[in-house]
């Protein structure tokens, strides 16, 4: 707020934070008002969990299934907002020229990315909260407090690698194609990574293929919290997940370079 005639050339951390929060607020509002985004991302995982883990299993002999599904549907719950927000949202903003317009403004690129990650995290957090309430009160899942927190933490952290996948799709695909690709990844990766059906029930070939997908590693990391994973080490999952995320980011960066070259 300098009173001089000179434009303010250096903007502080406060300015960056303010823009990032404002971008987040409007990104969130915009997503919430888009039924095609809000309804499937919020309701799919909740209904799936309600149906398969609560209603199907009620009166069942063990709490293993509802507990197992809490971990995997939680991961599924943040996958949707992350890859739809970045994949379809970004492709859309690029196709409509909104992204190009913002590049002519002083908006920091970081604020733009932050807003999308934060929006996915907010949607993810709502899904996780509802799943936890269903698990704790309707399905009767019992966990240590530390397990609840660990599960919530890993699930919310999954927003980052999933956003990287969305970013890679959104940076390359046109809007219409992005919708198709994102849906394919959303459903295909969830299935093959064992987010819908437990991984040990899938054929061996599919279990081997699953190692190529970030959702598999995140599913295993959450299952490890409740001792229901396949037994590989934490580092195995973290290293592969990190590598896959780096590949996605590199693909996304190449897409953006191509975009500014034309």
């Amino acid at each position: 707020m300098g009173a001089s005639a000179q434009p303010v050339l250096r903007r502080g951390v406060g300015w960056h934070v303010r823009i990032a929060l404002l971008e987040t607020r409007f990104q969130f509002l915009s997503s919430l008002r888009l039924p095609a985004f809000a309804i499937p991302t919020l309701l799919f995982p909740v209904f799936f969990y309600l149906f398969f883990a609560v209603i199907f299993q009620s009166g069942g002999p063990s709490l293993v299934a509802p507990t197992y599904m809490l971990a995997t549907y939680g991961v599924f719950g943040v996958l949707g907002p992350s890859i739809f927000g970045f994949g379809v949202g970004l492709a859309q903003e690029r196709d409509t020229g909104a992204l190009l317009l913002k590049r002519t403004t002083p908006m920091p690129a970081g604020a733009f990315l932050f807003a999308r990650v934060a929006t996915a995290a907010i949607f993810g957090a709502v899904v996780v909260a509802v799943l936890f309430l269903l698990a704790g009160f309707a399905a009767g899942v019992e966990l240590h407090r530390s397990q609840w927190f660990s599960l919530a933490g890993i699930i919310l952290a999954a927003v980052l690698p999933f956003s990287a996948i969305g970013l890679a799709i959104g940076a390359w695909a046109k809007q219409q194609a992005a919708v198709a690709v994102v849906n394919l990844v959303f459903i295909g990766m969830s299935l093959i990574s064992g987010l819908w059906v437990p991984i040990y029930m899938l054929p061996n070939v599919m279990q081997d293929i699953a190692i190529a997908f970030p959702a598999f590693h995140l599913g295993q990391l959450t299952l490890k919290v409740i001792d229901l994973d396949l037994g590989r080490s934490v580092w195995f999952h973290l290293v592969l997940l990190g590598g896959q995320t780096a590949v996605c980011l590199a693909v996304a960066a190449a897409g953006f370079r191509r975009f500014s070259g034309r």
């Binding site: 404002l22 915009s30 008002r33 909104a98 190009l100 317009l101 002519t104 908006m107 070259g261």
Partner: protein
């Protein structure tokens, strides 16, 4: 302190050395970053290629403080490429682009410049007021929201979602967003493309308001009428080159005219030698002569070729006007490659 060490000196040299040769200019450019001597924005010897297509061919363009400059040219002339280079949304391939004495995408440039892009929308689920609030927040001293709504004629539409607006209303929102930061320099890339007559007139009024407020604006258009109605100065671009530059009156006097079209034995060279002819060329079997005085040209032609036939005389379209300007300039032959398909 205006430039990061290392970035400024070299690029200023690149920008100004061509014309003024070096150091003295560099020093004055640093002393007067947005002063009167250098242009507010300039492209110097800029060429740009998309694959095999040469979109800009050693283009020089200057924007002076306080003027509304119209960049006029047919579709594919290179107008949007030129603007994109001045906005920094396209990477410069050769030549120099400077805005306020800095690189076009420098942070201090973004703060002082606004833009309305040719193909642009904003998320449809946010309201006009929300979009304005977001864009205003990017700038240190934005225009008040009420003022923006008024300047763009959007007072009634503040709470309407962007997706529910008509084409003309959307363009006015984009116009308001371009002005959100109270910019000294505004780029408007074909602002009225796709608008009906009413929408166009309305936006023209808003753009005239810019000039009244003492802002500098660069407007691209393929309508001579639009350039004439809004600009102080017109730069005509054709096939990536600046082919004419001047006041609207000057440009109009050079482009207003008729096309005499006929089948004749008279060659294009002969027709071009007539003092009344602004340009002439063969189109298939027909000779086309662009002229402000069709009667005089026809008298000369009938004198030479009484058998001349299939005659039409029509008002000059912008495309012919550009051809006339190209043939008219002291440039190289120009007609050898054929007039079709500029990109």
């Amino acid at each position: 302190m205006r430039c990061l060490p290392g970035t400024c000196n070299t690029s200023v040299t690149a920008a100004y050395s061509r014309k003024d040769g070096g150091r003295v200019t560099i020093l004055s450019a640093l002393a007067l970053p947005s002063g009167s001597a250098p242009a507010l924005a300039r492209l110097s010897g800029v060429s740009h290629r998309y694959g095999d297509v040469l979109a800009l061919d050693r283009l020089d363009l200057e924007v002076h403080e306080g003027e509304v400059l119209a960049v006029l040219g047919p579709n594919g002339a290179g107008k949007t490429t030129a603007v994109s280079l001045l906005l920094g949304t396209l990477t410069l391939q050769s030549g120099a682009a400077r805005v306020f004495g800095s690189a076009p995408d420098a942070a201090q440039v973004r703060l002082r410049r606004g833009a309305m892009l040719q193909v642009s929308g904003v998320p449809e689920t946010l309201t006009v007021g929300e979009h304005l609030a977001l864009f205003r927040a990017y700038y240190p001293s934005p225009l008040p929201t009420e003022r923006l709504l008024e300047m763009a004629g959007l007072q009634e539409l503040r709470d309407r979602r962007f997706g529910k607006l008509s084409g003309g209303q959307k363009q006015r929102v984009m116009f308001a967003l371009a002005l959100a930061g109270n910019p000294e320099l505004v780029f408007l890339d074909e602002p009225t493309a796709g608008l009906d007559l009413d929408g166009r007139r309305r936006l023209w009024d808003e753009i005239r308001g810019l000039k009244a407020a003492g802002r500098t604006a660069v407007l691209t258009t393929h309508y001579l009428e639009e350039a004439d109605a809004l600009a102080d100065r017109i730069a005509v671009i054709h096939r990536g080159r600046l082919i004419a530059e001047g006041s609207p009156e000057e440009i109009k006097s050079r482009t207003a005219g008729r096309v005499v079209r006929c089948v004749t034995t008279i060659s294009a060279e002969t027709a071009r030698s007539y003092p009344e002819a602004a340009g002439a060329e063969m189109k298939g079997q027909h000779l086309e002569v662009v002229t402000a005085e069709p009667e005089a040209v026809l008298r000369r032609m009938f004198a030479l070729d009484p058998e001349l036939g299939d005659l039409t005389v029509v008002g000059v379209g912008l495309e012919e006007a550009f051809l006339a300007l190209t043939g008219d300039g002291a440039g190289p032959d120009g007609n050898g490659a054929g007039p079709e398909g500029g990109t």
